[in-house]
């Protein structure tokens, strides 16, 4: 390809000029690609972390920093009422947690004992055994699923602990399952306690009176969770006879991921705009340098025409030169963006979340190629047309 060869030679002969012209493109594409890599990895790590959360559930608990916290507390009787009166609510189970000393033989530690139901709110993978069954819940069985942390502390020798008994105070629980080792990091929120027991057992053993800390609701239609949350809170306020000033908080997967996604969309838009502005500026730079290059090479263009070059052939030559210039800038920016995004990814995000997202090479290539192409077409057309339409006599006479 002689056009490419000649364009490379021209760009190589003016290295500093080529470099300066491409800086804008490098910066623009760098910004867009690095944020693409980071966004990709953040989104991946969030969905990886929250993927275990049930889609059809939400949790409601009274706001903790208000004076009549006591009056606001949800009662056991409210739950049956809500299932009966609020449409779309399928089940309602109490959620509770408390810190206790747990023992196994001579090993012990303080852990949070929490109630859970079947299927669990966070369906995390298990290393040993299984979650408790519907029968365990119905009968209020003394069974527990323990976290990896608790397993390591209570069973330092390792091995399968299912069937072993652990003690919370004087109460004995049989271990039926061990959760897999969680990924490191802040985003890997521990949604349950370290020792999960059936909520029926929890209520029987630890709930004194009628009050529960929080409740988990499952719905029939997951698409209207926000509306259902509002309906349930209204119902709780009626039943508790508290004003609208008393706050209840909700937690569900869609709202949580939605918030984080919104944040990222915002960042992506800002960086995208910076990228777009720098690409426009860079494109004008490319156009400018192409015009200079054509002016310098007027005689050369005249000669080419005199020895038989057609309009289209001159056009192709300068188009390819502009494309090469744009391409060098865009792909350098892409390489730097991937490197920077990958570095930040492995230095921070992987450390925080334990999640390694694949680098989105294909998206990066497509974005970069699109930038290079659009840049060439928008800013390379005029200079190339100008070169192609030069009058050979004038061009040959040009000093």
């Amino acid at each position: 390809m002689i056009y490419l060869e000649e364009a490379l030679r021209v760009l190589a002969a003016n290295k500093i000029r080529t470099f300066l012209t491409t800086i804008g493109l490098i910066i623009g594409v760098f910004a867009v690609i690095s944020i693409e890599v980071l966004g990709h990895s953040m989104a991946g790590s969030i969905s990886e972390t929250l993927g275990a959360l049930a889609d059809d559930s939400f949790v409601i608990y009274p706001g903790q920093y208000q004076s009549d916290f006591d009056r606001a507390a949800i009662r056991m009787s409210d739950l049956t009422n809500i299932v009966a009166t609020v449409p779309n609510v399928a089940t309602a189970v109490p959620l509770g947690a408390m810190r206790m000393l747990i023992r196994y033989g001579h090993d012990e530690g303080r852990f949070v004992v929490a109630s859970d139901s079947n299927p669990p709110f966070a369906d995390l993978p298990l290393t040993y055994g299984s979650y408790f069954s519907d029968e365990d819940i119905a009968s209020g069985a003394d069974v527990a699923v323990i976290s990896w942390r608790a397993y390591q502390r209570l069973f330092p020798e390792g091995g399968d602990p299912t069937g072993e008994s652990i003690y919370a105070g004087a109460h004995r629980y049989v271990v039926v399952g061990v959760l897999a080792q969680p990924r490191r990091g802040v985003l890997n929120v521990n949604f349950g306690g370290d020792i999960s027991i059936p909520y029926t057992t929890y209520v029987r053993e630890y709930v004194h009176g009628d009050r529960v800390f929080a409740a988990r609701f499952t719905v029939k239609d997951a698409s209207i969770i926000p509306q259902t949350e509002v309906a349930v809170i209204d119902r709780i306020r009626q039943l508790r006879q508290v004003s609208n000033n008393v706050e209840y908080q909700t937690f569900d997967k869609a709202a949580f991921t939605g918030g984080i996604n919104q944040l990222f969309t915002g960042i992506t838009i800002v960086v995208g705009l910076i990228g777009a502005v720098s690409l426009i500026v860079a494109g004008i730079g490319v156009m400018n340098i192409m015009l200079v290059s054509i002016a310098e090479r007027t005689r050369e263009i005249g000669t080419r025409k005199a020895i038989g070059a057609q309009r289209g052939q001159i056009l192709a030559q300068f188009f390819i030169e502009a494309f090469l210039l744009s391409g060098i800038g865009c792909f350098t920016g892409m390489a730097l963006g991937l490197a920077a995004g990958g570095a930040i990814n492995s230095l921070f995000i992987v450390k925080l979340t334990g999640y390694t997202a694949p680098i989105p090479i294909v998206q990066a290539l497509l974005i970069t190629a699109a930038f290079a192409l659009v840049n060439t077409l928008v800013f390379g057309t005029y200079p190339a047309l100008r070169a192609a339409s030069l009058d050979p006599i004038e061009a040959l006479r040009y000093e």
């Binding site: 000649e6 030679r9 050369e300 080419r304 070059a309 057609q310």
Partner: protein, 234 residues
């Protein structure tokens, strides 16, 4: 002169330039026939119209009036360009490209494949005596060698006519003499050569001298060729 033997046939060619409201008549009716294998020098002081005539013969410009036939056809400029080889005063080689690729460039524009381009370029470089300099860049060649490369480039399409505009203008006397020897050699090989020059010594090498003044042919003299004792008569 039979039609088949005519390379260039100009009839009543006129060219008028408009410079603002002023009309400048560069050519005022030129009749000129050049036969195949002729070696013609076009002479004249500056402003006589010889450059304009050259541009019209070279199909770089169109006459205002008159007809121009090249090889008996009145074809499109794009096709005619392939029948012409240009040699410029300033050589006009691509600076960063080696001799072989410079010579091969017209074939690229004509759509010839790379292998064939290189083969033919090397053959033409051989013809001008520069085969051993094929991979030198213009900056590594002397002025005379650069002009030989330019001539090779002009010859590669096997043109009907070789057009040289002040080919020795940038060369010293010794190199000019060598270049004229090359033109002689090409001429005896059957090439048609038209050369514009203002140098009498250079024009003397041609077998026919056409002199222009104020856009008209004032003399068309084959005698210098006959004095040189040549044998070819048209």
């Amino acid at each position: 002169m039979s039609d088949a033997a005519v390379a260039i046939d100009l009839a009543a060619i006129a060219k008028t330039y408009k410079m603002g409201s002023l009309e400048v008549e560069a050519l005022r009716g030129i009749d000129l026939r050049v036969g195949r294998g002729e070696y013609v020098a076009i002479m004249g002081p500056s402003g006589s119209g010889k450059s304009t005539l050259m541009n019209i013969i070279g199909c770089l410009d169109r006459p205002t009036r008159g007809t121009y036939h090249l090889d008996g056809t009145n074809a499109l400029a794009a096709i005619r360009l392939r029948k012409l080889g240009f040699v410029f005063q300033g050589f006009n080689l691509l600076a960063r490209t080696d001799a072989l690729k410079n010579v091969a460039l017209p074939l690229f524009y004509a759509g010839v494949a790379a292998r064939e381009r290189n083969r033919r370029a090397l053959a033409v470089l051989q013809e001008v005596g520069l085969a051993d300099r094929a991979h030198h860049k213009p900056s590594e060649l002397s002025g005379g060698q650069q002009q030989r490369v330019a001539i090779a480039r002009a010859l590669i399409n096997d043109p009907s006519v070789l057009l040289a505009d002040e080919p020795t203008g940038n060369l010293d006397t010794k190199t000019s003499t060598e270049l004229m020897a090359l033109f002689d050699q090409l001429h005896s090989g059957g090439r048609t050569i038209i050369m514009v020059t203002h140098d009498e010594n250079i024009a003397r090498n041609a077998r026919r001298v056409v002199r222009l003044l104020d856009g008209l042919v004032i003399s068309d003299d084959r005698s210098e060729y006959e004095q040189a004792g040549g044998s070819k008569v048209l």
